[in-house]
Each structure stands twice: as C-alpha cells, then as structure tokens.
Amino acid sequence: MDREKVIVVKSLYKSFKDNHILRGIDLTLHQGENLGIVGKSGIGKSVLTKCIVRLIEPDVGEIDVMGTNVLECDDNELNELRKKVGYLFQGGALYDSMSVRENLSFPIRRTQFKDKEHDTEELIERSLRSVGLLDSIDSMPSELSGGMKKRIALARTLILNPGIILYDEPTTGLDAVTSGEISELMLKIREEYNTASIIITHDMKCAKIATDSIKIMSEGIFIVDGTYDELSRSDNKEIRDYFI
C-alpha cells in the first residue's frame, strides 16, 4: 500500500503482573484505511488501542502516530497528539452531568480556547448532522438509548476533526439494525472526514461492512490478517470459527 502510514506499532509488550497481555504486537494503519481487530474477550484488543493513546503505558515497544513517537512525548505534546486521535469508548463515556450540546462543546472549549475564530455552534450542528441526531442537541445522556449514546459519543469525537479514530467495540450491546446503522456510519464518516480507523469488534457483520482488512488477535499477538472474504474462507477452522 502506497498510502501514508498514520500508526506504526512495533514489538509492543504489556503485562499486568503475571498476566502477559500483549506479546510483541506489530501493526501498521494507513491513511484512509479501516482496520478491524477481532479476537476473544480479554485478549488485549482494548489494551492495544489504549496503549496507542497512552491511556495505558506499555512495557516495551514503539508507537508512532502521525510521525510522533508517542512514548517519548511530554504531557503537552501528548495532549496535542490526542486532539488528532478520536477514541470511541465501548459505553460511549458521555459526560452525564452535561447536555448533548455541552458534551460536544466541551472539547472545543477546553482545547481551542485561544482560537476565538471558530463557530462552536456550527461545529456542533455539523457533527450531530453527521450522526443523524441533530434533534437531540438539548437532551441529557440519561434520556438517550444505547445506540444514540454511541452516535453522540462519535459526534463528540468528530468535533475536533481527528485524522484517526479508534473504535472500541462500537456495536456491542446494540440490536442488529442499530448495529448495522453504526457500521454504515463508520464508513460514511471515513468518506466525510477522511479518517483512518482501528475498529475493535466481535460483531462480524460490523467487520464485514466497516473494515477494509481484519487482524485476528490470539495469545497477545496477531495470528493472521486479510480481508473479510479471505479470512472467512480460510482453510484453518480456528480462523473460520470467528466468522460463524
């Protein structure tokens, strides 16, 4: 692939006491690519994405995001880098004391306070329109359904116009229809915002719709990668089992 590499992870290791979660992960994400990561629960998929934004400190390895060595950043450099990387949490992680409008204006207010030029309201409306929830602008998170919370969380992620989005199980806990809508939305967002994404999922329908390629994780390493069609037709039964 000739496209620019936006994330490069080399030989990444992470253990929690005696539990060796990541055992030498190598990963490359290109500009405009939607990469799916599939694997059993507790295998370390979320740990990997959290290491990429240094929510979790890895033990050993190299992480390069948009040309910046993440592990050598100081606090200010890390904050600057994090503005370029959106992260969609499994539960949405909406700020429950704030309305949808405040949830969306919060990252702008906190990170772009020196730049008075931008129109916050316009950015909020654009983000909400992208996820199809402009009507919910004055709702509180407690008034939203699970699917709506994820869409709003995605709108909040989009408001800083990130180059990369890390999706942590975006369709978990949603019904099949909503799950399909979120998967389509991830594709639409890539087109609209020109993002690259890592999508952690157990939902193979989501992986089929939203990803260009898939890596399967087992025992702390990637055991195989390929497109959905390639992997689902694999000769290896263990790999085919993920697609049932």
Binding site: Y87, R156, L160
Partner: protein, 273 residues
C-alpha cells in the same frame, strides 16, 4: 517419644511468612500512596494556573458543596454551643467564674471545636461525595474520554473542586462558629438574663487575633485537603463498581485523619509561639 509433625510446622511457618509479607505490602502501599498523593498535589497545583480557567465550575461546585453542607454545619454548631455551655456552667459556677463562660465557649469553639467538627463533617459529606463522584466518572470512562481528547481533566474535574472546597470550608466554619455562639447565648440565658451586647463583650474578652488567625488558616488547609483527598481517591479508583464505594470510604478515613494531623501541627506551632 511424641512425633513431630513437620508438615504442620511448615504450614505455620508459611502462614507467618504470609502475614509478614502482607504487613510489608501494607506499609509499602501506604508509602506508595503518600508518594502518589504528593505527585498528584503538585500536578493539581500546576493545573490551577493553566488556562482555560474554569470559574463557572468553581462557582458551581462552591455553591453546591456549601449549600448542601450548610444546614448540617449550622445545626451541629448550634447544638455544640448549647451543650458545651450547659455542661460548662455548673463547673465554672463552683469556682464563681460564671462571667468567664461566654469567653471560654468562644475560645474553645473558634480555636478548636468549630474548625475540627466542621472539618470532620465536611470530610464525611464533601470528601466522600467528591471521591464517589469522580470514581464513578473513572468507572464509566468519562475521565479517560477527557484525557484522550486532550481536555486536561485534572484541571477541569480536580482543580476546580479543590479550589471550591478551599474557599467553602472556611466559610462553613464561620457559620458553625457564629451559630455555636448563638447556641451558647441561648444556654446562658437559661441560667441568667444576659443581653446580647454583654454576651458578645464577654465572649471577645478572651478571644484575640492570635486565636482567629491560626484557626482561619487551619480551615483553609482543611478545605484544601478535604477536596484534594476526595479527588485523589476518586481519580485513582479502580475500574469496577466496588471501587466507587471504596473511594468514598477511604476519602473519609484519609481526610478525617489529615484534619487531626493538621490540627495537631497547628496547636504545636501556636503553643510554641
């Protein structure tokens, strides 16, 4: 000859070793906790001077925390003044020193009881509340979401709450002191008719600047640590729901203990001066 059961001795020895290891882990844990708290305090103080400044959050938390605790503090202060006067009166009467009663009550309430009791109430109510609230934010990944978008949660979530408690606790102590003197005034009037002017004059004969300054400074520190410890316990809480309860509980224990330690240090310093 009795047979020695080696396996039982081995088991007991293992047990002792385990206890020793647990004790060592406990002390290590305390020192690690203290070290982390010092680093956390440094980071919070740094964030207090880092823009954007959250005046709206400061006022919101100050109002909420103060408003929610005011009734409890006022009632406790009033009862303390009333009870202390009723118990002190017969003792002073034995020495014919009843005229000193308002002064003695004022000194004991303003110097010691008002700040410490209000501090303990705030440790129980405010520190645990802050600890639980921030721990819940941690569990639901709201803090992570703030960190990952570069929005500096330490400034928005922690610094604003710590500044709010630092401002609010001294104000609550002033209310507690005032209402304790009001309680004392009512109690004095049970035994003899005393005018407000006479009561105030007698109260302030024994109360000087040296009593007011350290006690006010002490309450500022109480407020700072009540907020800081609550925030620290919440911010460093684990990922499970049980950590919310643990954070609230340990915030109360640690901040109550800190209040006594600060009080002791201030008493030692003022007694030397």
């Amino acid at each position: 000859m009795a047979k020695i059961n080696v396996s039982i001795i081995k088991e007991r020895f293992k047990g002792r070793l385990k206890v020793k290891e647990e004790t060592r882990n406990f002390y290590n844990g305390v020192f690690i906790d203290l070290g982390e708290l010092v680093m956390f305090t440094g980071n919070v103080i740094k964030e207090m001077f880092h823009p954007p400044f959250e005046f709206r959050e400061l006022i919101k938390h100050g109002f909420l925390l103060g408003n929610k605790s005011l009734a409890l503090v006022v009632v406790t202060g009033f009862i303390m003044g009333l009870v202390l006067t009723m118990q002190m009166n017969p003792i002073l009467a034995d020495f014919g020193a009843q005229t000193l009663l308002p002064g003695v009550i004022a000194v004991s309430m303003v110097r010691e009881l008002g700040p410490v009791i209000t501090g303990l109430i705030c440790a129980g109510k405010i520190s645990s509340g802050i600890g639980a609230e921030i721990a819940a934010m941690r569990v639901t990944e709201q803090i992570d979401a703030m960190e990952v978008s570069g929005t500096r949660p330490l400034s928005f979530v922690v610094a604003s709450r710590v500044m709010a408690t630092t401002l609010v606790v001294p104000i609550l102590v002033i209310f507690a002191d005032a209402f304790s003197l009001f309680g004392a005034f009512l109690a004095v009037n049970i035994f003899e008719d005393t005018s407000v002017t006479l009561f105030i004059n007698r109260s302030f004969t024994l109360l000087g600047f040296i009593d007011l300054f350290p006690s006010t400074l002490k309450t500022v520190l109480f407020g700072f640590f009540i907020g800081l410890i609550g925030c620290y316990k919440g911010y460093t809480a684990g990922r499970g729901t049980e950590s919310v309860g643990k954070a609230a509980n340990s915030a109360v224990v640690a901040s109550s203990l800190t209040i006594f330690v600060i009080d002791l240090v201030f008493v030692l310093i003022t007694s030397i001066l």
